[in-house]
């Protein structure tokens, strides 16, 4: 049996498959169909300081091989999370990583401070795909200096693993990964959703109430893989691969491209046990291919003499 466990910034995870923020709730809605204890970890829905009701309907739209969402970071807020959700999560035998969203740097700090001392929270993932109210709503995550500052400020507040989740909607994600690394972030999660849009031609209105939304699912997998490849070549800290992972084969592509671990998102909606199946499939692949440790796969891409578009062109 291949070794599946590994250490992520000092934290021991039983396997390399986590469930992505916003696609598994707070872990307590998936129980009957699948045991979350078999996951490498659970990333919570993004938590903000105050509860957020989220955007008006329509919040989701299906697209070819993918879906758009504009949930609006609907969440119960960090305080209710602690009282209502954390007790259950503590009872699950897996790592729990709190994902944090905020609209000012101070708010990120505040949420992290509230969570920091809590037993049962094993690490933090910072969602920087949020509008910076001070900068007129520009997304923090598209501003390299802002990402650096958020990392620096939060790093000072915690010794727990600090993951920064990057947005793909930038020209060179490698620069953002480097900024996180330079400021002491433990890992980068690559990637959040691509900005997308859908229009109802009958009404000539946007399908989503917010006009545009975030694209996820199998459709974005090739983009996510390229972003992970780019980020993994830019930094030495772990890159956690996210985007369109539906099965073990998808996850293996990410590991081979350089991801230390992966997160399963949209696939949970279709099969709440998707993450567990992915983890099992990775182990099976290793066994079938005589790979003693999943670690041996990470970054094992044999790119030969091929030069990539990231360096050159199509």
């Amino acid at each position: 049996m291949a070794l599946t466990s590994f250490r992520l910034a000092g934290l021991e995870l039983k396997n390399r498959v986590l469930v992505a923020s916003g696609t598994y709730g707070y872990g307590d809605d998936c129980l009957e169909t699948a045991d979350p204890g078999k996951l490498g970890g659970i990333i919570t829905k993004s938590l903000s300081l105050k509860p957020r009701i989220g955007n008006p309907p329509v919040r989701i739209a299906e697209t070819a091989g993918g879906m758009l969402n504009s949930i609006g970071l609907a969440n119960i807020g960090v305080h209710r999370f602690l009282s209502e959700k954390l007790p259950f999560l503590r009872s699950v035998d897996t790592a729990v990583i709190a994902n944090i969203a905020a609209s000012t740097i101070e708010e990120y700090c505040e949420v992290l401070r509230i969570l920091e001392g809590e037993d049962g929270i094993d690490g933090f993932e910072i969602n920087v795909s949020c509008p910076n109210v001070r900068e007129g709503g520009l997304i923090f995550g598209t501003d390299c200096a802002a990402v650096a500052e958020i990392t620096r400020r939060l790093r000072a507040l915690t010794k727990k693993p600090l993951l920064v989740k990057l947005t793909p909607n930038v020209t060179r994600i490698g620069e953002f990964a480097r900024a996180v690394e330079a400021e002491g972030g433990d890992a980068v999660s690559v990637m959040n959703t691509l900005i997308g849009m859908a229009i109802d031609i009958k009404t000539r209105k946007p399908v989503l109430s917010t006009v545009t939304g975030g694209l996820s699912g199998p459709a974005i997998k090739p983009v996510a893989l390229a972003k992970v490849y780019e980020a993994a070549r830019a930094v030495r800290i772990p890159v956690i691969g996210i985007g369109g992972i539906t099965n073990a084969s998808d996850a293996l592509e990410f590991l081979i491209a350089g991801a230390t671990a992966v997160q399963v998102g949209t696939a949970n909606f279709i099969d709440p046990a998707a993450g567990i199946k992915v983890a099992e499939g990775i182990a099976r692949y290793c066994d079938e291919n005589g790979i003693p440790d999943v670690a041996d796969l990470v970054g094992s891409l044999d790119a030969g003499s091929g030069t990539s578009v990231l360096d050159s062109w199509l």
């Binding site: 916003g22 709730g25 309907p57 989701i60």
Partner: protein, 248 residues
């Protein structure tokens, strides 16, 4: 899968067997079907549980898009990937009413047969109103005390089903009624205004896009009544809601 049969003009009934599911489904709950193994369409499709006969379970649907088109092509022996039962059942165990007034518009008939059985088990009489464009679109099986309305008058009352209900109840008042309605949004709005005006308790079963069906995507908000804006989740808190609790 047992097969797909036709139950009206463009209306199909799909049946499959699952002993466990057949025992646990309550009226008003839904099943979330994966129609294709490929990622096209990507998401599951929700359907009300329509009928249960021993371990055989039925849903009723019409073809409106890719998912339902694929469902119609399913054959006996195919394996269906079904999640469920999901959502909350209708509140039938409720001392506040004596008679169930069931209203279905089009395929909003879907949850009514199970609801009929549930109410009868509670010993509550049922009167049912069904509306459709024409007689061919009426799916009238397994209902009780049925009154129909069609837009073209080809069967029953000519006009919309809410007018029929209002007309009927004014002529034949029932004791402590509670309305259970399912159908297109404009119909549900009309039902809600009628219920409010007549001070009848009323649950409406809503429809809308769903991402997961189990409460983990936050994709199915239903605006709640109340001074401060807030949302419930259609899939987890519904799909049926008491009209006093939501904005409709």
């Amino acid at each position: 899968m047992e097969g797909v049969r036709t139950a009206g003009e463009g209306i199909h009934v799909l049946s499959f067997t699952s002993a466990a599911m057949s025992r646990s489904i309550r009226a008003g709950q839904f099943l979330n079907l994966r129609v294709e193994e490929a990622c096209e369409p990507l998401l599951r499709r929700p359907f009300s549980a329509y009928r249960i006969e021993k371990s055989s379970i039925e849903i009723v649907f019409n073809v409106v898009g890719r998912g339902t088109a694929a469902l119609r092509r399913k054959k006996q022996g195919d394996v269906l990937d079904v999640l469920g039962p999901l959502g909350k059942p209708f509140k039938t165990i409720d001392p506040g009413f004596d008679t169930g007034v069931l209203i279905g518009g089009g395929l909003g008939v879907a949850p009514l047969p199970l609801l009929t059985s549930a109410l009868k088990q509670e010993g509550k009489p049922v009167v049912t109103f069904l509306g459709a464009r024409s007689a061919a679109q009426l799916v009238t099986d397994h209902l009780e005390n049925l009154h129909t309305a069609t837009d073209d008058g080809s069967r029953g009352f000519r006009g919309n089903v809410v007018d029929l209900v209002s007309d009927f109840l004014s002529k034949h008042p029932v004791e402590h009624p509670k309305i259970f309605a399912c159908g297109p949004m404009p119909m549900l709005r009309a039902v809600a205004s009628f219920a409010r005006a007549s001070e009848i308790t009323c649950e409406v079963s809503l429809e809308g896009p769903m991402g997961c069906g189990i409460g983990i995507c936050q994709g199915c908000p239903v605006e709640l009544a109340g001074p401060e804006k807030s949302y419930a989740l259609m899939c987890k808190d519904g799909p049926a809601f008491d009209i006093r609790t939501i904005k409709i």
